[in-house]
């Protein structure tokens, strides 16, 4: 992750922000002059205190919000100029693990995970086997037909991760993915994300869990009062 946009190689970047500012409606700006680039296949942490702007920055990256100013480029396309009808195709290349999971309570774990495939128009006959295999991979083979409300926090988290990766996104954005689970499950989830990163998925994890950042060796980006700094290269971490 590079904050100086002049020094990044734009060709291999999946995400590029240049002097981005963001405000909600007519409110005050919550992000100021954000500039960075994410190379394909990288793994980064995004940290900062609550209310610093982590979730807002993530919202910009998963195309839930447009910037008030500046340039955001996703997969080489300026999102400000992408027509609305083409946003869906861009979003399908992004996997998101939401802070509150955002699982659909009226659907089973299997149907929740199958959603991105159905939306992409996959054939129904292929969906079940594919989804069941992924849920087995995240250790939920016995809960395919369970509703999210009957699952524990950790299990819901794994369903959310399975939903985020089922369609093989190029980038996975996880917003406080360990916020609702204990340390042991948080560490297991992080190993899961590392596995995805090893097979080529670019990963960004927003968290304020310092112990996770200390434990896993990835460059860390810091945001405070809407200003982005970093990435910090801690001893032993890959930049």
């Amino acid at each position: 992750m590079q904050q100086d946009t002049n020094s990044v190689n734009a060709v291999g970047d999946i995400v590029r922000f240049e002097n981005v500012g963001m405000r909600y409606r007519l409110g005050a700006e919550v992000l100021h002059d954000i500039s960075f680039a994410l190379p394909a296949g990288s793994f980064h942490f995004l940290t900062g205190p609550s209310g610093a702007g982590k979730s807002s920055l993530m919202r910009l990256m998963y195309l839930a919000h447009r910037p008030s100013r500046g340039l955001i480029s996703m997969f080489g396309r300026d999102v400000s100029t992408v027509p609305r009808r083409e946003l869906a195709a861009l979003r399908r290349r992004i996997g998101v693990v939401f802070q509150e999971f955002k699982l659909l309570d009226h659907l089973s774990a299997l149907d929740n995970v199958a959603l991105p495939l159905r939306i992409a128009g996959a054939k129904e006959g292929q969906i079940r086997d594919h989804v069941a295999e992924l849920l087995r991979w995240v250790g939920l083979e016995g809960q395919l037909d369970e509703r999210p409300s009957t699952l524990s926090g950790g299990e819901q988290q794994r369903v959310a991760i399975a939903r985020a990766v089922i369609a093989r996104p190029q980038i996975l954005l996880a917003d406080e993915p360990t916020g609702n689970v204990d340390d042991e499950i948080a560490i297991r989830l992080m190993y899961l994300l590392e596995e995805l990163n090893k097979i080529g998925t670019t990963v960004v994890v927003a968290t304020h869990n310092e112990s996770l950042i200390e434990r896993f060796r990835h460059p860390c980006f810091h945001i405070e009062d809407g200003l982005l700094t970093g990435p910090s290269d801690r001893p032993g971490r890959a930049a």
Binding site: L63, R84, R85, H106, E124, R163
Partner: protein, 301 residues
Amino acid sequence: MSWRASDVPLGDDPASRYLPWTVGMLVLLATLAMATGMILSSAGEMWRQSLSGTLTVQVPVPDPVAGAAGDIGADQDARVEAALDLLRNTPGVTAARRISDRRISELLEPWLGAQALSMNLPMPALIDVTTSPDAAIDVPALSTRLETAVPGTVVDDHAVWLRRLSNFASVAEAVSFGAMVVILLSAVATVVFTTRTGLAIHRDVVEVLHLIGAQDSYVARQFQIHTLRLASIGAAVGFALGIAAVLAIQLYGGKLGGGLLPDLSLTGLQWLALAVLPFAATLLVVVTVGITVMRDLARMM
């Protein structure tokens, strides 16, 4: 369209729960309005056809005082025969026949009762005249000649009645079809409201669907499938009740008889047009839902 569980939990919506009732009532009213319009249209056309190309000649009973002594009945028959002779010899007249007393009695029965003839009322004799479609009968001249030959005779060419009838049928028909259009527009307005409420209730779910790559059309289809189910049920029930009401009106209207009501029957084509109504209403509702969802979603990122 698949019938698996909808991605948007619309089944729990309080607003959509009443959609079948709303659509059902509106289809019922639209069916009645459309059937009424068709009956009025047919009746107007039938009246026009039956009255155009005809004249009615009234030969009043001679004044008994003025006629002094003598057989009034025989005198009246002679007056009618004279009028008939004159009419049959008029160019353009293809037929002239006296309407029987029995038929006059039948026509008067709804107003005067079954004993109309035995009341010895001084009823005029009626002559039904049919004219050639190509003939231009000079009605005022014919009236003058008849008045000269048979004093007191009146010729009615139904022109005023026809004009009023035509105006009435046209206005009534327009009102009926206008009512049907208003009813369908009410359905549209109700569906727009219900859909917007559903979108507001499920905004979070819709946002999730968007963020994992759903097109607006995918979300709209979720609403349309749900609406199709509910509207189909409502339209079917409303149409069945509407048809039952039309059949009941035909049955009891037919029993009135006596020319009080026009013919209430519908042609095969008209029944077919009525049968299209529930499908058209359902299609209208589903298309409205799609447009409403697409327009509302266009305001989201």
